[in-house]
């Protein structure tokens, strides 16, 4: 129960602090995991002990340093070509972060635009976009992105294109539904009464109310984008062969999983930490930004 008499106006700063507290452990843990990932990606050349492509065939398939047979020079061991696993993990984070940022933002931009259009115009425009989404949803998403990446050809652009083309519907569906809900609210009607144009209404009134939803979706989508990149590089159709990726490392590790299980285990750990980080961050942000809980 909220005692209304006590709910006096709060300073904006205090409100933000309260909001961040409400985000709780999820927000902080998520932000920490994502922050570490971003830092590692940014500082890769500084913190990686070796060049990710540097081969040392004399010390191939070394176990991590603390296991018997490991060498101190290779903390997390080496792969079958004698490349430093730790350095490859670190450099792989760059591909993951680049794909997450670019692909998720582009998918969001396209999805939000189409969702807003469908939700606000209604009629045949809404019908056309909704049918397009229906057709899209009939594709198995993993298979569609594999087909796309394969036909576009190897490279970062094709991975990003594959993710954007497959995942814009996630944003479009939610934004369309939410736009329809918001447009029925009293404040939207009031804005129309005072003579706001459709564009102005969408930009000034509807979009700000979509922010919590979109930020949450965006964070989750970044996790998904990382996963799709992993899938594509696992199948062998992601970036060029000499760029290290977690998915590529897993695929190589799968071949020698009985001899060197750590080569597969370590990238899996990195992926899980990143994906859980983005999910927690999304959860936390949703609670922080939710206008209903803000009071």
């Amino acid at each position: 129960m909220v005692d209304l008499a006590l709910a006096a106006p709060v300073a904006p700063q205090a409100r933000w602090i309260a909001a961040l507290k409400r985000g709780g452990a999820r927000l902080w843990l998520g932000a920490a995991l994502v922050g570490v990932l971003a830092l590692v990606a940014l500082l890769a050349p500084l913190i990686a002990p070796h060049h990710p492509l540097e081969q040392d065939l004399m010390s191939a398939q070394l176990p991590p340093a603390w296991v018997t047979g490991g060498e101190a020079a290779y903390w997390l061991g080496t792969d079958s070509l004698g490349r430093c696993v730790l350095s490859r993990l670190i450099y792989s984070a760059r591909t993951a972060v680049a794909v997450a940022l670019i692909a998720a933002s582009l998918a969001a931009a396209i999805g939000i635009a189409l969702g807003l259009i469908a939700g606000s115009f209604g009629g045949w425009v809404d019908q056309a976009i909704s049918r397009l989404i229906d057709v899209w949803m009939a594709f198995p998403p993993v298979l569609l992105s594999i087909v796309l990446a394969a036909v576009i050809g190897a490279g970062l652009t094709s991975v990003i294109a594959a993710i954007v083309v497959v995942d814009w519907t996630r944003f479009a569906r939610v934004v369309r539904a939410e736009t329809m809900v918001q447009l029925k609210r009293d404040y939207a009607a009031a804005a129309r009464v005072i003579g706001l144009s459709r564009g102005g209404l969408l930009r000034l009134e509807i979009l700000p109310n979509l922010v919590p939803l979109v930020v949450t979706l965006l964070s989750v989508e970044m996790g998904i984008a990382i996963l799709v990149e992993v899938i594509l590089s696992f199948v062998g159709i992601s970036v060029a062969g000499d760029v290290p990726t977690w998915g590529g490392m897993i695929a190589e590790g799968r071949q020698i999983v009985y001899q060197a299980p750590w080569i597969m285990a370590l990238p899996i750990g990195c992926i899980i930490a990143s994906v859980i980080g983005f999910n927690l961050l999304g959860d936390g942000l949703r609670i922080v930004l939710d206008p209903v809980q803000r009071q």
Binding site: R131, P140, L144, V147, A150, I272
Partner: protein, 335 residues
């Protein structure tokens, strides 16, 4: 969903499939990359290459190719695979049962597991241990099926080698099947040793597919159970002296089932889509694994056929789920 809605949805199936076919068809042909180049031996003469292009119809304009393909597809002929040199229809039909059996087993595991977790969760409701269940469900949900596949492969295939990690059945096992539903057939004909061997190969991939889905079922079911338990009828039953397990099972559970089927059912398609990669990881011979091979080999007719197969399965599943919800929910039956 009302019955009129069912009819509307049925009518929407052909245009949706047509859309899927058009998109895949165009997508595969507007991009560079020649499937013929993948299949010719080095040193083939230009005439040979041209003959192959003509044989597969790849020399025709795109619209012509599509009309030809569509005309044949409507009669059940989906062309010939370029990499395996067999009818696409026969190839898909031979592999589809393996995927269906895997998906079905995974769904069963997910439902049973989800029910158990939800029951434990609702039993612990309000106690401190509840967050352990909720947190566990969150982790199960956050990690997608193909990562579970890799984790399970490492744990129970390599570190503690309990189960086989590749194939559908042991290659040294000499058995013949009349159908391609190996598991169903061996169960129906009473060959339980064979069924056992098949199940051993299927446990890890189906568990990987089942875990995120089980978590989803558990989360929705637990929320619905909690809501239903707070309703008047449940409170009245308690006031009349019925025990909590009795109320949960006979009063609360049937009402909590509807949202679970409605929300969870839609996600079965995710499980089906997940077979693509999970089959690949466990070298399981289903259509998912075949699809990745087809993509790598640029086998246009096979990719086309497989994507359409998945689309048909997706649409059919969604429709079945909606029908089941309509049947379960008395409010929707009289629309």
């Amino acid at each position: 969903m009302r019955w009129g809605e069912v009819v509307r949805r049925l009518l929407l199936i052909p245009p949706t499939l047509f859309g899927v076919a058009v998109i895949v068809f165009v997508l595969l042909r507007v991009v560079p990359g020649d499937p013929i180049a993948m299949m010719i031996p080095p040193g083939a003469s230009p005439e040979d290459i041209l003959r192959l292009r003509v044989f597969y119809g790849l020399d025709q304009p795109m619209l012509q190719q599509f009309v030809t393909w569509l005309g044949q597809a409507l009669t059940g002929d989906f062309g010939r695979s370029i990499s395996v040199h067999r009818s696409v229809f026969a190839l898909v039909l031979a592999r589809l049962p393996a995927t269906l059996e895997l998906a079905l087993l995974a769904t069963l595991i997910a439902i049973v597991l989800g029910l158990i977790i939800a029951m434990i969760g609702i039993h612990l409701r309000g106690r401190r241990a509840e967050w352990v269940v909720d947190g566990g469900v969150g982790v199960l949900l956050a990690i997608p099926d193909f990562l579970w596949a890799l984790i399970l492969l490492l744990l129970f295939g390599v570190l503690i080698p309990l189960l086989p990690i590749s194939g559908r059945i042991d290659p040294q096992l000499d058995v013949t099947f009349r159908s391609n539903f190996y598991l169903l057939e061996s169960l129906l004909t009473g060959r339980f040793d064979v069924a056992n061997a098949l199940l051993h190969h299927m446990i890890l991939p189906s568990l990987a597919l089942a875990l995120p889905f089980a978590a989803l079922v558990a989360r929705i079911l637990k929320t619905s159970l909690a809501e239903a338990e707070d309703q008047d009828y449940a409170q009245i039953a308690r006031a009349r002296g019925f025990s909590r397990p009795k109320i949960l099972l006979s009063e609360v559970f049937p009402n909590a089932l509807i949202p679970t089927v409605a929300l969870g059912g839609v996600q079965v398609t995710l499980l089906l889509g997940g077979t693509v990669l999970v089959e690949r990881i466990f070298s399981y011979e289903g259509i998912g694994n075949m699809a990745i091979d087809a993509v790598i080999n640029r086998d246009f007719p096979l990719i086309q056929g497989l994507v359409l197969t998945f689309a048909v399965l997706f649409i059919a599943l969604n429709l079945v789920v909606d029908l089941v919800v309509t049947l379960l929910d008395p409010r929707l039956r009289h629309g």
